[in-house]
Symmetry: C2
């Protein structure tokens, strides 16, 4: 693999050429290439682990923290898991060619709206080298060429992983340029990639807020940003309080570092006297730091002494940690207003037995996913039956919620006539 000797412009141009061939491949050809990629990951595990060891050594010397080193580390088990994931993606239904609608127009023209690949997808990512394989598999499955730009911290790992993947799919008959890796993890390459709108159809950042900010400052190519999630659970006056307790604990505790975890609990004033003392005690016992408004504090019961006062900022913050803001509201309408004001449009839940409250909340809350009597933690491509996801979007255009294979596609209208001309 000599891709690293090419410029960003050359890589993008070759990816564009590849994308035209990829768009016309049938599912069997793409799936065979993905299975070859999975096999190659297993067969060439030694090379990958060796490269990874070099990155880990350099990282340790360079003073990378434990958590980052763990994200960077590959093991035989992790590699085997990556191969399993690629085979799982190969087994998913092909989104390309799916008919979205089909109509005969009054003039006899047959119009079909058909799902087709976007073309070239660029993925910009940070330490985790598994993104190299995961995103390559998702893009190829959806008929797109992929241009990867990883972090220099994982430079050796990414280079070998991209080479293993690119060589395997090329040997399986996919066009050269289907998978490319941009050499160099600097801001210059990022800027060049993000402004290459003649070749790159979409750029997806996989990383922290710094990466997103760097990208949004320069991008002219369309970007889908993975979402921050300031998610709420609202316990209505009519809620089944046992269900509410289970949902609140699940939404906060099951995996607090994820974007679909709850960051604020809102409780209707009629439910609060019964509900708050119990749930706050449970949350406190589970190690959650509670930041409450004055009305919640007055009803807090046994844990009142351990509570902090919630500031306006607390209600606007995605903690991604064992911290929860808590407030009492007078009505479902007030809960909806609070959610629309402070939420990030990710995942919002109401717990209620009232059809009216459910209807008001699902209609009034402006978010990608609105739950009734279920935890916000279900917002996930796998849980939603999309098979896999490349992230979650809180944007309103194109992709909202989990970004799966369909969201890596666009569509075209195919219109067939019999010599039709416009009058």
């Amino acid at each position: 693999m000599a891709v690293e000797t090419f410029s960003v412009a050359e890589i993008c141009a070759e990816a564009k050429r590849a994308s035209h061939a990829l768009a016309r491949l049938d599912s069997a050809a793409k799936d065979a290439a993905l299975l070859a990629m999975a096999d190659a990951l297993e067969e060439r595990a030694g090379e990958v682990l060796e490269a990874n060891a070099r990155d880990l050594e350099a990282g340790a010397e360079g003073g990378l923290g434990e958590a980052l080193l763990d994200r960077l580390a590959l093991t035989p088990t992790r590699l085997a898991g990556m191969a399993v994931d690629v085979r799982r993606i190969a087994a998913l239904p092909d989104p390309v060619g799916e008919g979205i609608e089909a109509r005969r127009l009054p003039n006899g023209l047959d119009l079909r709206k058909v799902r087709v690949p976007l073309g070239v997808v660029a993925v910009v990512y940070e330490a985790r080298p598994n993104v190299t394989i995961d995103c390559s598999a998702l893009c190829l499955k959806s008929g797109n060429a992929i241009v990867l730009r990883g972090s220099s911290i994982a430079g050796h790992s990414n280079a070998v992983l991209a080479a293993v993947a690119a060589e395997a799919v090329a040997a399986a008959g996919l066009p050269e340029g289907s998978i490319s890796l941009v050499a160099g993890g600097g801001h210059e390459e990022l800027a060049e990639l993000a402004t290459h709108s003649e070749s790159v159809d979409l750029i997806i950042p996989r990383g922290g807020e710094g990466l997103k900010a760097a990208l949004s400052a320069v991008a002219t190519v369309p970007v889908i940003y993975a979402a921050a999630g300031n998610c709420h659970v609202y316990v209505d006056a009519s809620a089944d309080l046992e269900a509410a307790r289970a949902i609140v604990l699940n939404a906060k505790l099951q995996r607090p570092g994820t974007c679909n975890s709850a960051e604020t609990l809102l409780v209707h004033r009629d439910a609060a006297p019964d509900f708050l003392p119990r749930v706050l005690a449970d949350l406190h016992d589970a190690g959650v730091e509670l930041r409450v408004d004055g009305r919640a504090r007055a009803l807090a019961g046994s844990v009142a002494d351990s509570l902090l006062d919630a500031t306006e900022d607390d209600f606007a913050t995605e903690f991604l940690a064992l911290v929860l803001a808590v407030g009492v509201v007078d009505s479902t309408e007030e809960a909806i207003e609070h959610v629309n004001r402070y939420g990030s449009g990710h995942s919002e839940a109401i717990v209620t037995s009232s059809v009216e409250a459910s209807r008001a909340f699902t209609g009034g809350v402006d978010a990608a996913c609105v739950y009734v009597n279920a935890s916000t933690r279900f917002t996930d491509g796998g849980e939603f039956g999309l098979g896999a996801e490349i992230g979650n979007s809180t944007q309103k255009l194109h992709a909202r919620g989990p970004i799966g294979l369909r969201e890596l596609c666009t569509f075209k209208y195919v219109v067939e006539g019999a010599g039709h001309t416009r009058a």
Copy 2:
């Protein structure tokens, strides 16, 4: 109407508040407001025409050309036409609430993907004052609040039209802020509007390339650009040459200033000797300036002397005029490559009797609309049965092809459970 005394920030914030109420309105309430808007346009025609006369006078004094003055001018007939269009939009199906998909997940959660309004749509436009009404009706019908920013040339007309529309829909019960007009047509207001991402969900420019460039330089809000169309007709070896002739003439001549008109004719070498002399003569007789490659010139017959040589630039140009580039190709594959290289991804046609060629062209051409045996001129929201359109998109994300009411919407997932928590 006092909106003109508010800042862009205040206008956007009020539009956001209005959008939350608009999103929950039923179709009957929105349609009644649109009918009230249409009635008000007729009832207050005098005020509108008076304001328009002031703009026309200032325009004439300021040295506006004939064409611009005509675009600016309102007449009783044009106003009546605008009212008719609003009533037509009111009669269209409501896109809001439409179920896109619904599934029960394996864990019993009921998931629905439902179409909902985007929220606040900003429309930035040039001289035509009818855009004020047209876009307001489309946005309200799709449950969005609209913020308008017109050109200062049409300042008086737009102010009265926006006031008439806003007052009529407010009297019909729609929230304040459903329709607003930003005072001042300067670049400062444009930049402020285009970066107000906390309130504005989408910005649509309706105007020339200068406006688009000004917007793309500053926008952080998502933008959908109306498309340039460098459209092709490809006449395959197996084409019915009578049908091909009718399609080429229609695609070039029916309305040459539109983005879905043909700018390049490609002819397969086997069809060229029969087809080119006749069609070039027809086009020449119709006043079309022909810019041809060497192989086309050699087969041109009677009109050979009147032909210009096509440059590389000619094949890349959207003429929007009675000019056509003409080339001969060796194969359908070469035609596809030409189209993908020079086309703008708008509307592309093949004329053929071959199933193989049709399949190759519709599969291989990367464009919003691909036609088989039909004129490119059909790319239009009305023709496609969308009822109305706000423009045509050659972007691949969100909206591709005609931008109708559905494309002014996003969706949300509504997920209902019975106390579901994630394991």
